[in-house]
Symmetry: C2
């Protein structure tokens, strides 16, 4: 391995760091996964990313200096062009952290920054469910709901680098309050915490017995609600169904606005499968303009948790950092 | 005038045909406005467009053959690349009408087709409220609510030429039925017919006395509701305010998704001014992410009813028809 066409991709998340060393075809030659331990603060996390890069490079049998550079996928908000994470709610202490400079200094190769939804969208475009397409929207479904928009094969960043906040379309004006301050955003109705919140309200009302039993004293999560639904708790099932329905209302808007070649759904909630995605896709397909719904590939992400790291790695080639 | 840099722009609407002969700076050298008389069918309308072109060219003192070509803005749905209007609800009999071929044959210069919202968006970008910008969303507010999206200075058409249907974001799932079949689209809540429908319901309930008096036996229109509001009918005022509010909810989604440099509002309803746009812009600015709302120029269109014709004329230069 000469390493000349290899790049490093790092997906920095609130709970884990995922690093890949990949070639231009998206083949992963080395990989490392470790906890972020975000509570230790930016300096410790940067050092841990550097360790992860060295580990992944070791597995790929290439020196970091033998790669073309590092692509970093991070939670927003960020200023991707400047390489700065301005304020990441899931990374305590990360305020105006110049992550590209810190990592380039530590590793000795140039690096670039992209927000996680955009990086994952680009990963799916290059190596996943949307290969060969030009216009796609990727929607990530997890603790939050975000989006990555690709137009003409390029990430669309918007005027201030904040484009793609598809979770903050309002679909129920009198609905629950969202983290953004509005009521009834898709995120407030369909993200993981929304499912947990609705379940907690049910249990507080003496319902969803199976779920209450499963949860015991532990905090409610979307995953627990899903397990209760699988075990036959109809009320848990109904909560997930409703969350999927509201997601579908948002997807109608995305489809009608973008008329995309592909609408890709990724993120942890996709693992709930038909129980969640069924009503979402059904609502989306029925609600969008027939021509648009017929033309769009609507599917789940293929790269799973590697999408962000692989997308970031690919960006090093298409948008070479200085 | 040599005519070498002149282009012809035609805005074909359901009620009128607007034709301009313009130079590359958007200066109008000749203009013609005449009724569409759409009921007479496609052949008669095409002949009338040809007459309008000859009239406008005469005023500009240029032969049509001395121009670079014709840009046609038409109501959708259409296949812009193929030059075909597939099915225009406001133009009876227009099914798969190859309007570029018919006009090119009639006039003897090449022509191109663009849908009306996209053409108006491009007009505003080149010569109007968004000059010099790259990423804008134009929203047209009238009988319907549509949109034109400009990314990197180019019209974004989507996978099948249907992108920009911003009026069909769902913001009130149990709201009134929309022409598209959904409930609670922005168009079903905030377009002209929605305002007229709400007013008719009030009058049927014995309310909005001033409006009822104004309307007499004539059919209710948004314009009548506006006049009643100006004359102090509080219920008419409230209807317009509510329509503006729901429009604002849709604009929140547009801003958060696109993070545009500019959001331009055009179309006839803009003439209702603050009564309608006030609640819309207030809701949009408060509801969008602060960074996005701060960065976006949010304003009304500058070119008025000429936007579509001027945008179509400009497209002849940027996207020369064969």
């Amino acid at each position: 391995v000469t390493g000349k066409q290899l790049t490093i991709g790092v997906d920095l998340g609130g709970t884990k760091i995922e690093t890949v060393v990949a070639d231009a075809d998206g083949t992963v030659l080395g990989e490392d996964l470790r906890p972020t331990l975000a509570a230790e603060g930016p300096a410790a996390v940067i050092a841990r990313i550097a360790d992860s890069i060295h580990e992944a490079c070791g597995k790929a049998n290439v020196a970091p200096a033998g790669t073309l550079g590092i692509g970093i996928s991070s939670p927003g908000p960020a200023k991707p062009k400047e390489g700065i994470v301005t304020d990441a709610p899931n990374l305590p202490g990360w305020h105006d952290i110049h992550v590209t400079k810190l990592l380039s200094d530590a590793i000795g190769v140039p690096s670039l920054l992209e927000n996680d939804a955009n990086a994952a969208a680009y990963g799916e475009l290059r190596f996943g469910a949307a290969q060969g397409l030009q216009h796609i929207v990727y929607v990530t479904l997890g603790t939050g709901i975000g989006g990555g928009i690709i137009i003409d094969g390029k990430i669309y960043e918007g005027a201030s680098g904040a484009a793609g906040e598809v979770g903050h379309m309002i679909v129920l004006p009198d609905g629950p309050v969202c983290n953004c301050g509005n009521r009834g955003c898709v995120e407030a109705l369909s993200a993981g915490p929304a499912i947990a919140r609705d379940a907690a309200a049910l249990i507080a009302g003496g319902k969803a017995a199976k779920l209450a039993e499963l949860a015991g004293e532990s905090p409610l999560t979307a995953k627990l609600v899903y397990e209760a639904a699988l075990q036959g708790d109809d009320e848990a099932r109904e909560i997930i169904h409703r969350a999927g329905y509201y997601l579908g209302l948002g997807l109608v808007g995305i489809l009608n606005i973008f008329d995309p070649q592909a609408l890709i759904l990724g993120g942890g909630l996709v693992n709930m499968g038909d129980l969640y995605l069924g009503p979402a896709l059904d609502t989306a397909r029925k609600g969008a303009f027939p021509q648009i719904a017929a033309d769009a590939l609507i599917t789940t992400a293929k790269l799973g948790s590697r999408a962000g790291a692989l997308g970031a790695a690919a960006l090093v080639i298409s948008r070479p950092p200085a």
